[in-house]
Symmetry: C2
Subunit: 314 residues, 2 copies
């Protein structure tokens, strides 16, 4: 009888670990540092050792553990193989197989943004929904698609890579991926700052954003000014919302989900952000998709461990 499972979320600086009951109750979470030296060869052994120590500490036998799910910041295919993960200095790695060998437990692997979407669909902002689109707005824009309650990983591990949808073909600056015009360039924290800089250059209009010192112009500052009625910040938020809302409407034509979630650091701006995006989404969406609700993700940084744990129960 399986009672427990582990969810591991491997990040560039720390590895988040969660011990879950199979009903989705988070029993305990903890973090260990990510050692990226020597092509990150210690990362999975460190995680495995931490899991085994936890099992010993709690007196949990192997028979009671359904498995270990691992979220990785890179493309992961259906077989649990990673082609490369830049932030971990990994080249090809068969993550699920290696974790099975290290722990003697069944293991699965998923892209971290996909795992976050699955976590939110399991126990978060889309709890109970089987069809979900999630956009994670952080330094970049990640995404995850849930179809029939499962991650859509894609053939090259690029399922849900919505941050690289070409939303602005007239863009002249390159995205990190090498293309020009990606959603990430206008809807991530850095993208919102870019939009604000352009808006500030265009006019000499008074704005709270103009008084910020070097480094002070952040996505948070833009949303704070917007909430206080700053009209230039309002135009920046309108542009951001038009791009993201229209993008989500296009993705909804493909997937037609029950709910769309927005998470990541930028989403801390809360309901004013959601309201702006929902308005633009509704404008652009196919008629039978116009009512799809856009909601805030609720699990924050824990979404990844929830989703990783969930993968071993499917």
């Amino acid at each position: 009888m399986k009672e427990y499972c582990f969810g591991i979320d491997v990040g560039g600086t720390s590895i988040k670990c969660g011990l879950f009951r199979v009903d989705g109750t988070l029993e305990e979470k903890w973090e260990i540092p990510t050692r990226t030296e020597e092509h990150g060869k210690a990362i999975l052994p460190d995680a495995a050792a931490s899991i085994q120590a936890k099992m010993q500490e709690r007196g949990i036998s192997r028979e009671k553990v359904a498995g270990v799910g691992v979220g990785v910041p890179g493309p992961v295919n259906r077989e649990g193989e990673v082609s490369r993960a830049v932030n971990l200095d990994w080249g090809y790695k068969h993550v699920s197989k290696e974790m099975e060998e290290l722990t003697g437990l069944p293991a699965k692997a998923a892209n971290d943004a996909n795992a976050a979407a699955l976590g939110e669909a399991w126990k978060g902002g889309a709890e109970g929904a089987s069809q979900v689109i999630m956009a994670t707005l952080g330094t970049g824009v990640g995404g995850g698609i849930i179809v029939d309650g499962k991650i859509l990983p894609g053939v090259h591990g690029a399922g849900g890579e919505i941050g690289h949808a070409n939303i602005e073909p007239s863009e002249t600056e390159p995205c990190n991926c090498g293309n020009r015009g990606c959603l990430e360039q206008v809807a991530s924290a850095t993208g919102i700052v870019r939009l604000a800089e352009k808006e500030l250059e265009k006019s000499t209009e008074d704005s709270m954003l103009r008084m910020l010192g070097a480094g002070g112009l952040t996505a948070k500052a833009v949303f704070d000014a917007y909430k206080q009625g700053d009209s230039l910040a309002g135009r920046v938020v309108d542009k951001f919302a038009a791009y993201l809302g229209r993008g989500l409407a296009m993705f909804a034509c493909v997937v037609d989900p029950e709910v769309i979630l927005i998470g990541g650091g930028v989403a801390r701006a809360g309901m004013p952000l959601i309201d702006a995006v929902q308005r633009e989404f509704t404008k652009a969406a196919f008629p039978s998709c116009k009512e799809i609700p856009i909601r805030l993700a609720v699990l924050g940084n824990d979404a990844g461990i929830y989703g990783a744990a969930r993968t071993v129960l499917q």
Copy 2:
């Protein structure tokens, strides 16, 4: 032991019927007229009677038939319910249930463009692929998404409605759906004619397209002129390909399929169309999706009966 299944593709003027072996061999196909009078109430009974007549004619007992799949020109949900089908003058109808009652056979229903995608993934241009995006370019633009070998129907039956992705936010004319800027407005047969008309208005440049009489300016004429080196037609095809290629690249960020198919009447333009779209797709696609091949659908008008038949085998 099931040996046979039926695929039915209900169109506005005719109902296509196919008798298949369960291995996908098309034994026989035929058509009957679509009687749309009195809210199309005779449509499913006519189809059921035609199936039963065929079983009697061939001496096929009910025990040997896996079921009847029905493709419908409208949104169909997972349960086989249609909310409305304008071309058939149908309001709400539980198609699969009604067909089961009429025939005494298991029945399923799917949107016709989704069924066409499934048919092509089963026995057509994407045979053997489990992850497919198909775009059907006809009077409008339809689409179908295959994930894990099955149709992605969506929550409101709008899965794969890629013709209504908002690809051109600066569009001023309305689409049939009521929105402005849909892919259908620039990538359907009528959309290509619109692009050509705009291009002809913009200049007085010599072009084979200028000499066509009223009604002569068709998508086929545009591609014919393009193949003969007409430079104005070339610009029209470039615009069409940029919209469609970029749209498909955005959808590929969501689904990350093995193959993308293009079908429908417009696709009769053949490889020159595919080459132009592939070029633009590769430009806009996320790096790990750039190699996804774009291919011609091959089943033509039979794709729908193939896919409808396939649904009852899953």
